[in-house]
Symmetry: C3
Subunit: 210 residues, 3 copies
């Protein structure tokens, strides 16, 4: 059990680093100054977890209790700045970094909500929020239409992954395995949406004079 906690902590730091990279890449596309890049990296990386902690009443929030998160974000954003000065970032790097962060944080958020003893529907919603809120804030601040509202499989991927995690856990699988399976489902669905165009049906309201 101790091992699982350590593993989750490392996964959490990894998720924070990945979202910091995605934030820094998004900021670079908007030609912000160095501090602007840091701010967007921080907001993207901690936005989802902060919202989750505030709603659950876990305060002070996680990155105030443990500033390691911030140093990881600064390192990841700095690395992105230096790397992309000398190299062309891999194609669609922003979308792929975002997909990893989404899947990681969705499952992590779900386990944290679970350990607070809330009903399963709240576990799904808080996990999804943990996964998507950082990216939504990044997109609002850099004035892009949030990925979540573009019509491909985004929050849906998080929800499907969390459901798989909950069901396998319920079925008696060790938490470790359920955790990996949920993460894999969320990530695969999101990558399928990026590369194969997987999407949900659209709701189109008939025209109404207003």
């Amino acid at each position: 059990m101790e091992n699982l906690h350590q593993y989750i902590y490392l996964a959490d730091l990894l998720g924070v680093a990945v979202f910091a990279i995605s934030g820094a890449l998004a900021a670079g596309r908007k030609s912000l100054d160095l501090l602007g890049v840091l701010i967007i990296a921080v907001v993207t990386a901690i936005g989802g977890g902060t919202l989750r902690d505030l709603l659950l009443g876990r305060s002070p929030v996680f990155w105030i209790v443990d500033p390691t998160y911030l140093f990881v974000i600064f390192a990841a954003a700095g690395f992105t700045l230096i790397y992309s000065r000398y190299n062309k970032p891999p194609l669609q790097s922003l979308l792929i970094a975002d997909a990893f962060g989404l899947a990681l944080f969705a499952i992590l958020g779900a386990t944290i909500a679970e350990s607070a003893g809330v009903p399963w529907i709240i576990v799904v919603i808080l996990g999804t929020m943990s996964g998507v809120a950082g990216g939504v804030l990044r997109d609002i601040i850099t004035n892009e239409i949030p990925l979540i509202l573009r019509r491909d499989f985004y929050a849906s991927a998080a929800i499907a992954g969390i459901m798989v995690y909950l069901l396998l856990n319920e079925a008696g699988l060790p938490q470790n395995g359920a955790y990996f399976a949920g993460f894999g489902v969320a990530l695969s669905l999101r990558l399928a949406a990026i590369f194969k165009g997987l999407r949900l049906p659209v709701f189109q309201l008939p025209e109404e004079p207003s």
Copy 2:
């Protein structure tokens, strides 16, 4: 007293349903996918109360404590989806649903703030926030100019209703009566703004070179 609490709980669920409908209708106008519709319905329905609870330090917030709210939102959003596939929604349906939600949540938010023992000016402000925040979030996410900033009587209707409620309560009216009167005033003023063009005077700053 027990009856009043039950009544308030039902009114709260009704307000949540009405705002979920208004969120789903707004999402339908933007051709979002099914999950996007649910997300906007949820944000619209719980945004105001969540902000109120966070500011008052009531955590976990109300819909985490009692997931009934979420099931009501899902049902209301689903109903809206199905209904508007086969029927043209009534004229100005979005604005009218929004007016009901605004009036209900303003008075409900005020009573909750009141029972937390805060000064009257805070009761007015938290009540108003409860009424308007969900709709503001809905409009920001769907990229509309928030109704609150369009120049008709919006937050003003909430404030007037809450003031009437507080004054009648102070004057010794049973809370039930004060509650209904405040709700009626807020709703009538908002409907008057929609159908009769009631509005406040505008503040126009003289031009200033910048």
Copy 3:
């Protein structure tokens, strides 16, 4: 020590008044109605401190505990409305009011975070958030690109001021002196950015097909 607390309280009220003026001026440029002006003044003035309190878990937040803040905001917004009906506001008045508020709240936010016993990096971040969040909310609501993302020295001024405050405090200067020095540095840097074009280098990502 008692004197310092009283002094800080007065400085806090002054910061709230200055940000309320900056909010009212911004609202005036958008021709909002009277209530819209009040709402934007309130959001600008209390946004930063509210975010700080929520993240630190200090709830209810400061303006619910002490409604004096709200009356100061109403007075400052009312004064701005009346003054600017009869006088042309001084050139760049909005930017200068904003600079004062930024410097004041950054140092105040830092001292409050400090007294909560958090690590220095968190003191810097929460202080900076206290300084910038109100203005960011004002700019998002009035649909302007946030000052923080325009490429001049904005959050950087807050960070530099807080760093100076922390270093002088660490070096054994009386808190009073460190406080003034930090405020002076933040304000001067921000004014230098406004009038002399002081800015940070820009991070420009090489073009990437997407």
